[in-house]
């Protein structure tokens, strides 16, 4: 029986500023007063308040408008399950929409406003939607806007967006900082109510590493809402003392304001920590929120339960609240949510609200108990002086901006209208089992408590307390301790068989005695089913649910999608089971027959900022910087991203008005004098071992056994399906020592490919591979004067003459008086060119040196754009040509494919369809008018044919203005290409809607004989 009855004293208690505030609450500091505004009106509150408790303390009941019908709504709950009281917090860049007032911690100066109303909350023009509600019933999106399709974008969608919707996102970039962190423990405990605390104490005492996560700012869970004694003192003080003891243990970490929102595979949990949401502004550099990934060997879910409403007509008016939430406001926050209350319940727990309200000075107008006879109800009614309606229901309510009366239909069928400003409803409690279903495990239905309970069979998951369907505090304490003990034992701590710690003593065992009444609809009130809300947030009514079932949407999964029940941001935490029960009744089935839907992460909304963490803007992904980056910045280089690499795109000089001027000058410098470019970003892989040459033969299409030491060779790699994968040069530096280069983009994939070939395909090959990309600063020095420049740097004992160090030579050398280096005679530009590599620490110095010693020869750095222009001029394929859809044949390299050895892709490359002459094959293109732009991506068509797919013969892959040729030029792939040099073809650019003409030419535009290369 309810033996903790305090004196009944009439309201108000504290004075005119917070008319509904009681003397004290266990979670607030009434000694201090803070201010906040709601819809521009200023109010006072106390530290420890949520926005919801503060609004209720100030007598504000109307806080929002519903999503679809714009109905006035108030505060339903006292926790994260809140469907109604969604508000905008803060202003400007900090404005955050759709925040639940029930979990928004109040701070001095908070600015909050209601949303989804126009022009004001009290008078909302869109409230007309409520009048039109017959139009907006189940499936209305599907039915109303089916036809014609063109109407959707122009008419329907803008209207719906204006009429329905919630808050407004900030228009400025998020000014706050977010971070991520990783945690590890043996036992993760979710929830700090009696079960969670008992579990934490049991697990921690046995020596396990424990992390206890509590989504609230204060520990205790429901102990803060109830008048219950544990070890002869108020439950919430027991909770605080237990947390203090846990905090003192070195193997325990306690995370408050931290919601475990996901259970992923392998014992990985997502945790959302609100680090400074309770502060006006975070400290400088302090994160606003933090995303934790916690890896736990065992987990104890002690998440408690969520109360469900009863469905009755006009059950959504402000002032109609969950009974358990009312106790939370009274006991924790010291707020009376009304002066004249009706309690409507189908179980004993709801009766506790009548007792606590009465003790707080609220007048209990009536107790409506849907059960026929309850001695508990009689006792409470007698004690509180309330009128008891056994076997009754609420048939309707009235009151526009807040409830003013209820129509009670007694067990005898007689109606009685009773005035009130608060209806506390308890339809029973649903264990909060969301986390236990994330791996797809379906819960089972318990007739005893008329709710779904978890059925964990996974070895690392334990559920305790109300979350497991145990409805008493003493049961939660015992079960929590057992779960914590077992979880620790599974990790090897303590003895599995030894008894857990003695459970604390609880003064009373709560009775529950639920007899389900899911809804109060009968033949008469059924006429108002369109106002009986099941899902408050998505405005789904009893009528919608019935209609959906009648239309054949009898599966719960169909019901959900057709009516949008449970699909709002609250995930239907207060709605799903009621909806299911309703569907079961319409279908004439039991609830277990009807089934239930599972939940996915997150259990509560998680901000996108938190998921992104610090990886935003410039730091979205890491940057790789080549060794000359600092020097290039000093030169005023413009950079471009090449994968993760930041590379110099071009180096503008004074007087150059466009990037094209700069690139033309850089190309001309290389073609006529000498230029240099940092090519460190190309992948470099050191390959050593007795089988190194054999290994190269297997991964490249061409032959490698006979490549002499001191020489390099071009190589092409295919995928096993016969398409080109990557290309580059590989040099033999020693008997069993090669250095392979890859394209910048494919450096990682090629390394992975080589490791696969070695470890999975040919594990017997004796070869070692390791990346040396970062070891060497490699700089291309290109142009007719490149040899002259290198002679200034390379130590004199090395012969750089064409005879001594010809095209494709490679050697370990020294520069600058003994500094080790590597020199390769390679050319991407087609000019006399070298690549000089020095250890990466010296790359910066090498660039500065080249500028100095090259000055007499007219040296200039060039960027990747000029590099690209010159490789197009020379017809070298690059990324746009090696696009994963081209073969060696397409690239004009069909003859490279060796027929004397096995190599990756050999068999599949030989398929007739991959070698047929009709396949688009590499060609060059020149517009008939030099200044006509050729755009990459343009389609190639026979001259005069219609620009349709049927006539498509190929495409342009790369194009550039060639300052050397004095014309636009392009590389492309054209059916029967090599046989068609000289033909004029149409170039269709569908984006610009142009058709121009171009001549098919050799892809090598510059120095086709290779004289410059071999100079």
């Amino acid at each position: 029986m309810y033996n903790i009855m305090r004196d009944h004293a009439p309201l108000p208690v504290t004075g005119p500023t917070q008319p509904m505030r009681l003397i004290q609450g266990n979670g607030i500091d009434v000694g201090r007063t803070i201010r906040f505004t709601f819809d521009d009106k200023s109010y006072t509150a106390h530290p420890g308040d949520t926005l919801a408790s503060a609004l209720l303390a100030n007598g504000v009941r109307l806080v929002g408008r519903s999503f679809k019908y714009h109905r006035p709504r108030g505060i339903l709950s006292a926790g994260p399950e809140e469907p109604n009281a969604l508000v905008e917090l803060r202003t400007g860049a900090w404005r955050e929409p759709n925040t639940r007032a029930t979990v928004a911690e109040l701070f001095d100066g908070l600015t909050a406003s209601s949303q989804n109303r126009w022009p004001t909350l009290a008078f909302d023009a869109m409230g007309i939607n409520g009048v039109l509600s017959p139009v907006f019933t189940a499936g209305f999106y599907y039915k109303t806007f089916m036809w014609p399709a063109a109407f959707w974008e122009k008419i329907y969608e803008p209207i719906i967006r204006r009429a329905a919707g919630l808050g407004r996102a900030a228009e400025e970039a998020d000014p706050d900082f977010y971070e991520k962190s990783n945690g590890f423990c043996d036992v993760l405990i979710v929830g700090s109510g009696p079960a969670g605390l008992a579990a934490a104490m049991a697990a921690a005492t046995s020596g396990a590493r424990v992390i206890l996560c509590e989504q609230d700012s204060l520990p205790g869970g429901r102990l803060r809402a109830e008048n219950i004694l544990i070890d002869h003192r108020p439950g919430w003080t027991w909770a605080e003392a237990t947390v203090s003891r846990l905090r003192a243990m070195p193997n325990v970490r306690i995370m408050t304001r931290s919601c475990v929102f996901a259970r992923y595979d392998g014992g990985t949990y997502g945790v959302f920590e609100r680090v400074s949401d309770h502060l006006a502004v975070p400290q400088p550099d302090q994160p606003r929120q933090r995303l934790w990934r916690i890896v736990a060997r065992q987990c104890v879910v002690a998440t408690g339960a969520i109360e469900r409403p009863i469905v009755f007509p006009n059950n959504d008016r402000p002032g109609i609240m969950l009974a358990g939430a009312v106790r939370m406001y009274v006991n924790r926050f010291g707020v009376a949510p009304g002066r004249q209350a009706i309690v409507y319940t189908n179980n004993d727990d709801g009766l506790r609200t009548a007792a606590d309200l009465y003790a707080a000075g609220v007048r209990i107008m009536a107790i409506v108990d849907s059960r026929q006879s309850s001695t508990h109800a009689q006792a409470v009614a007698q004690r509180t002086g309330a009128r008891l309606f056994p076997g009754a229901r609420i048939a309707d309510t009235s009151g526009y901006r807040g409830v003013t009366a209820a129509l009670i239909r007694g067990g005898n069928g007689k109606d009685c209208r009773i005035a009130c400003d608060l209806i506390a409803v308890s339809g029973g409690w649903n264990p909060d089992i969301a986390l236990t279903t994330h791996h797809g495990r379906r819960p089972s239905y318990s007739d005893e408590i008329a709710a779904f309970i978890p059925t964990p069979d996974e070895e690392d998951l334990h559920v305790a307390g109300v979350a497991a369907g145990t409805m008493t505090t003493s049961g939660a304490l015992t079960e929590g301790a057992r779960a914590g003990h077992q979880a620790a034992a599974c990790c090897g701590f303590g003895e599995a068989s030894s008894p857990p710690l003695a459970a604390p003593i609880v003064d009373q065992d709560e009775s529950y005695g639920i007899v389900p009444q899911w809804h109060a609809m009968d033949a008469e009130s059924g006429r108002r089913a369109g106002r009986a809300f099941i899902d408050f947030q998505n405005d789904v009514t009893a009528k919608d649910t019935k209609l959906a079932a009648q239309e054949g949407f009898r599966s719960v999964e169909h019901l959900k999608r057709y009516t949008t029940l449970g699909m709002a941001t609250d995930q239907g935490k207060t709605a799903n089971v009621n909806g299911l029960a309703f569907l079961a009744e319409v279908n004439g089935q039991s609830i277990p027959q009807t089934g239930t839907t599972l939940t996915r992460p997150p259990t509560q909304p998680v901000t996108l900022g938190t998921l992104a963490g610090p990886h935003r803007g410039l730091h979205f992904k890491p940057h790789r910087l080549p060794p000359t980056h600092q020097w290039a910045s000093e030169q005023g280089a413009v950079f471009t991203a090449n994968g993760l690499w930041q590379r110099a795109h071009w180096y503008p000089r004074a007087g150059e008005t466009t990037w094209q001027d700069t690139v033309n000058r850089e190309v001309n410098t290389v073609r006529n004098a000498v230029g240099f470019c940092d090519v460190t970003t190309l992948g470099k892989i050191d390959i050593q071992g007795p089988d190194a040459a054999t290994f190269l033969e297997r991964v490249y299409v061409n032959a490698w056994q006979k490549l002499p030491v001191g020489r390099a060779r071009y190589g092409l790699m295919l995928r096993e399906d016969g398409f080109a994968f990557d290309d580059g040069t590989t040099a033999r530096l020693g008997e069993n020592n090669y250095v392979m280069t890859t394209t910048t983009a494919n450096a990682g994939p090629v390394m992975q490919h080589l490791e696969f070939c070695h470890q999975c395909l040919w594990p017997d090959m004796d070869v070692q591979v390791i990346s040396v990309t970062d070891e060497w600063a490699q700089i291309a020095v290109a142009g007719p004067r490149s040899r002259d420049v290198l002679r200034q740097i390379v130590d004199p004992q090395y012969d750089l003459s064409n005879e001594g160090f010809g095209y494709m030579a490679a050697a370990n050398i020294t520069v600058c008086g003994g500094q080790s280096a590597r020199l390769f005679r390679l050319s991407f530009s087609g000019e006399l060119a070298y690549e000089l590599a020095v250890p990466a620490h010296y790359g910066d110095a090498l660039a500065r040196l080249l500028m100095r010693v090259g000055a007499p020869y007219g040296i200039a750095p060039y960027g990747t754009e000029a590099l690209g222009v010159m490789r197009i001029e020379k017809g070298h394929p690059a990324g746009p040509e090696l696009n994963g859809q081209t073969t060696a044949h397409d690239l004009g390299m069909g003859r490279m494919l060796s027929t004397k050895k096995d190599f990756i892709g050999r068999t599949m490359a030989a398929r007739a369809a991959l070698t047929g002459p009709a396949r688009p094959t590499l060609v060059g293109l020149r517009p008939l008018v030099a200044g006509t732009t050729l755009a990459a991506g343009a389609h190639l068509l026979p001259k005069g044919s219609p620009a349709t797919a049927a006539f498509d013969q190929g495409w342009i892959s790369s194009s550039a203005w060639s300052p050397t040729i004095g014309s636009w030029i392009a590389l492309g792939f054209l059916s029967n290409g090599p046989a068609r040099h000289g033909e004029i073809i149409a170039v269709h650019n569908p984006l610009a809607d142009t058709i121009t003409e171009a001549e098919i030419v050799s892809p090598v535009f510059v120095d086709p004989e290779g004289k410059r290369l071999h100079a």
Partner: protein, 193 residues
């Protein structure tokens, strides 16, 4: 002949301090990767043991030998040998390992950032998805893992509280930035430092 080339550090400034934590660039040391050829591991260990008194560690840890040599596992079948600058490591290892292992100079390819101070583990945990608890990751332990999106060799040096992040040189500035941001973000309330 031009003047000798002067080395340029991958990160500047060499050391920063935030909230009592320091992040510093370790002095450059010589590094050579050792990739044993097939069936050569016993002979290789014997050769290393005879000269340096140390063998290649089987697990992810650092073994210290004579003349400042340190051996640490750098891949499933590769190790790094480290020695102080000027040790001539490659010249000493080359004859020892000839025919037994691939040796590759890695002195310039990686740099090491040293995070020191109270709470270093809590700051590192913001980036590194491995359990840093002392009984999991004690002095001498190394782990090949990610710091955020950047591959690192994480190690806990003997004798000092803190962690070393060895990273490809081209990533050094991004990693330095990321650690710096984590340092500024402070120590989470729940962490014990």
């Amino acid at each position: 002949m031009p003047d000798p080339l002067l080395p340029q550090p991958a990160v500047q400034p060499p050391s920063i301090t935030v909230n009592g934590l320091t992040l510093a660039l370790a002095p450059t040391r010589e590094t050579v990767s050792i990739g044993p050829f097939a069936k050569c591991l016993p002979d290789l260990d014997a050769a290393l043991a005879s000269t340096f008194g140390v063998t290649l560690p089987a697990d992810f840890s650092t073994a210290s030998g004579q003349d400042g040599l340190q051996l640490t596992k750098a891949a499933h079948h590769q190790w790094f040998a480290h020695a102080p600058a000027g040790a001539g490591l490659m010249a000493r290892l080359a004859p020892l390992c000839a025919g037994l292992a691939a040796l590759t100079n890695q002195t310039d390819s990686r740099v090491t950032l040293c995070l020191r101070g109270t709470g270093a583990d809590a700051v590192a945990a913001k980036l590194v998805p491995v359990d840093l608890a002392p009984h999991h990751f004690g002095p001498g332990h190394t782990a090949l893992t990610l710091a955020g999106h950047i591959p690192v060799i994480l190690s806990r040096p003997d004798g000092t509280s803190g962690l070393d992040f060895t990273v490809f040189r081209s990533f050094a500035r991004s990693l330095h930035h990321d650690i710096h941001v984590a340092m500024k973000g402070g120590i989470p309330h729940s962490e014990r430092v």
